[in-house]
């Protein structure tokens, strides 16, 4: 693919830039809209350059906006979403690590049965099991709680399988060397397996954080109180059916605020993320 033919490179770059434009333009457009007044947005065509109301819009969305989304500020929604995304990502990683550890390194009756049980849940995403899960959450009184928001999304076959695949590549000799060195199961997990899984954990964390952040249907069902809502659900609530009632400039600001944290996570963890996907440190 890498060649010195200038025309070839030109075409390659053109395609890449085109791709970037296609992906980035809507986001840029959202940003542009978030710096305009409502009147400017409603009256097309919308300018392609940012307007002059950046501070005004952002401060009113962040600080003056109490009462706008059912009496809850954007900060509260962002906080809820952070808790939910972190809860799902960290919870999933812990559970998957432990279950993969058990399945790969221990011989116990029904090992394969449990493996298949976990595997089968791959076919049951949240949406499929949403009604029974909802019923369970209601019975447990977990509506409008962080537990209710995160717990049902934690048990994950995908992450378990990923860790299982990784653990299976760890040479048996390493496990045996640790046994000879007097490391029990817990020590082996803590001293050897966890450090070796670092990059995988980082990559999974990024993926799962974004997965948690963008959840819509589940938080919509699980929360009745507005102050337990997430930013994605709140965003939807800001848009009323009558077009004129919607404060589009503030919706756009909220959009930008909603995509900032995932971007931050990706950018900050990029180095680890890429290493986790390409490098096998063995």
């Amino acid at each position: 693919m890498i060649q010195n033919n200038p025309i070839g490179r030109l075409i390659a770059h053109f395609v890449l830039i085109l791709g970037i434009v296609v992906v980035a333009f809507p986001i840029y457009y959202t940003f542009v809209a978030s710096t305009q007044t409502l009147q400017e947005i409603i009256r097309p065509p919308l300018s392609l350059l940012p307007g002059g109301h950046f501070w005004e819009n952002y401060s009113s969305a962040l600080f003056g906006g109490v009462g706008r989304i059912g009496g809850v500020g954007v900060d509260r929604l962002l906080w809820n979403t952070v808790v939910m995304a972190l809860g799902i990502a960290i919870g999933k990683i812990i559970i998957s690590l432990l279950s993969a550890y058990a399945i790969v390194f221990f011989r116990f009756p029904g090992r394969m049965f449990f493996f298949w049980l976990i595997f089968i849940t791959l076919m049951l995403p949240v949406e499929v099991r949403i009604l029974p899960t909802y019923k369970v959450m209601v019975d447990l009184g977990l509506i409008d709680t962080y537990t209710g928001l995160t717990l049902p999304l934690m048990a994950s076959a995908t992450a378990t399988l990923l860790f299982r695949q990784f653990f299976m590549t760890i040479p048996g000799e390493l496990v045996e060397a640790a046994r000879v060195d007097g490391a029990g199961p817990w020590r082996f997990f803590k001293d050897i397996l966890l450090p070796l899984s670092k990059t995988n954990i980082a990559a999974l964390f990024v993926i799962l954080f974004i997965y948690g952040w963008t959840q819509y249907l589940w938080p919509l069902l699980m929360t009745n109180r507005n102050d337990m809502s997430t930013i994605v659900v709140g965003l939807r609530k800001m848009i009323s059916f009558a077009d004129a009632d919607t404060e589009w400039h503030l919706v756009m600001v909220t959009c930008i605020l909603a995509i900032l944290p995932p971007i931050l996570v990706v950018v900050l963890m990029q180095r680890w993320f890429v290493r986790g996907l390409v490098e096998t440190e063995k």
């Binding site: 040479p171 045996e176 640790a178 000879v180 060195d181 007097g182 490391a183 670092k198």
Partner: protein, 356 residues
């Protein structure tokens, strides 16, 4: 330091496969015992049973006169060097060596002292802060040895530790391991499939085949008096030549029906195999008379000059043989040679391959 005693050790895997079929070995304190055999002969399984990484189906394993069958690997006070070194990739060399000591709750100062001592012995001092992936194969090998040494265990176990090194380094490390083992005087069990390694390292050599011990003894004793055709063809490079013979009233018959003089050899009725080392053959001029040796006709099939000597490949009465000739050989494929084997250099095996 301790003696190791294996009594009637058996290993049967879940599927009913019997990998080790009743083995008895006694290793004296400070001795280096080499288990050698082709792949699948059970030598690694046996080593792993001594290490405690495999359960012992039957039999008694004693280290320093106490039964350790039911102890875990960490409690047996053994240290093991693995084929692929099994270094912890995320730890520095220092931590790799210190890990086992830390797990035993040894005080920091003592750990540091031992690691530095071992590093000095193995000339690893300047590498302590590196990670395994920054080291060459030989250096990794040394770290693996260091990890075993610092523990100061009762027994060292080596599982084909040199098989991943190139030939030159392998030779060097072989000498080093031998010296180190002598110097430390730790009882060792060493598994290899390389007969040269086995010959040069062993105090006691155990030749295994199909889960049983074919022969135990000092390396040179085994070389000179192989107990079976298997041992004869496994120990020594090139291996011992084996020629099938049957006796009749007039003398001996080779596989293809060639007649040769019996020279007073007592051949059992069901036939036998005559063995002789490649270096024990002597090429003789055609008409010369010889007494006290077995005269054979050899058809040359190929010649391999390796420098100081040449290997002449050929066949005698339908069996393939090798002759070791000093210097360069002038024979060509297709030539016929008359060779003689002195009687005292002959080995005789019965039809089942056992030494007579």
């Amino acid at each position: 330091m301790a003696s190791v005693e294996l009594t009637n050790i058996r290993k049967v895997y879940g599927g009913g496969v019997e990998a080790v079929k009743g083995i008895n070995i006694a290793i004296d304190d400070g001795a280096l015992c080499v288990l050698v055999g082709p792949s699948g002969c059970g030598k690694s399984t046996l080593l792993r049973m001594i290490a405690g990484l495999e359960t012992i189906t039957e039999g008694v394993l004693k280290i320093e006169n106490s039964v350790v069958n039911d102890l875990g690997p960490a409690e047996r006070d053994i240290a093991m060097v693995f084929q692929n070194y099994a270094l912890y990739p995320h730890m520095k060399v220092y931590d790799n060596m210190a890990y086992g000591l830390r797990n035993r709750g040894m005080p920091k100062g003592e750990i540091d002292k031992r690691v530095r001592e071992a590093a000095q012995t193995l000339e690893l001092g300047h590498l302590l802060e590196r990670r395994p992936r920054e080291l060459s194969g030989g250096q990794r090998q040394r770290v693996a040895m260091g990890r075993a040494i610092v523990r100061n265990p009762k027994v060292f176990l080596f599982d084909e530790p040199l098989s991943n090194l190139d030939a030159k380094l392998r030779g060097q490390m072989r000498v080093e391991i031998k010296n180190l083992q002598r110097q430390l005087g730790v009882t060792s069990v060493y598994v290899t499939h390389d007969q040269l390694e086995a010959m040069t390292l062993a105090d006691i050599l155990v030749v295994m085949n199909g889960g049983v011990v074919e022969q135990i003894g000092a390396p040179l004793d085994i070389y000179e008096k192989p107990a079976s055709t298997f041992v004869a063809s496994f120990i020594g490079a090139p291996p011992m030549n084996l020629v099938h013979v049957t006796a009749n009233s007039a003398g001996l018959l080779l596989k293809d029906g060639t007649h040769i003089g019996a020279e007073g050899l007592a051949i059992p009725a069901e036939g036998a195999q005559i063995g002789f080392r490649p270096e024990d053959l002597e090429v003789v001029a055609g008409s010369q008379q010889h007494i006290g040796g077995l005269l054979l006709d050899l058809t040359v099939r190929g010649v391999e000059p390796v420098g100081a000597e040449s290997y002449v490949y050929g066949d005698i009465g339908g069996d393939k043989v090798v002759v070791r000739v000093a210097g360069r050989s002038v024979v060509e494929p297709g030539d016929h040679l008359r060779v003689i084997v002195p009687k005292e250099k002959l080995h005789l095996f019965d039809a089942k391959g056992k030494r007579i």
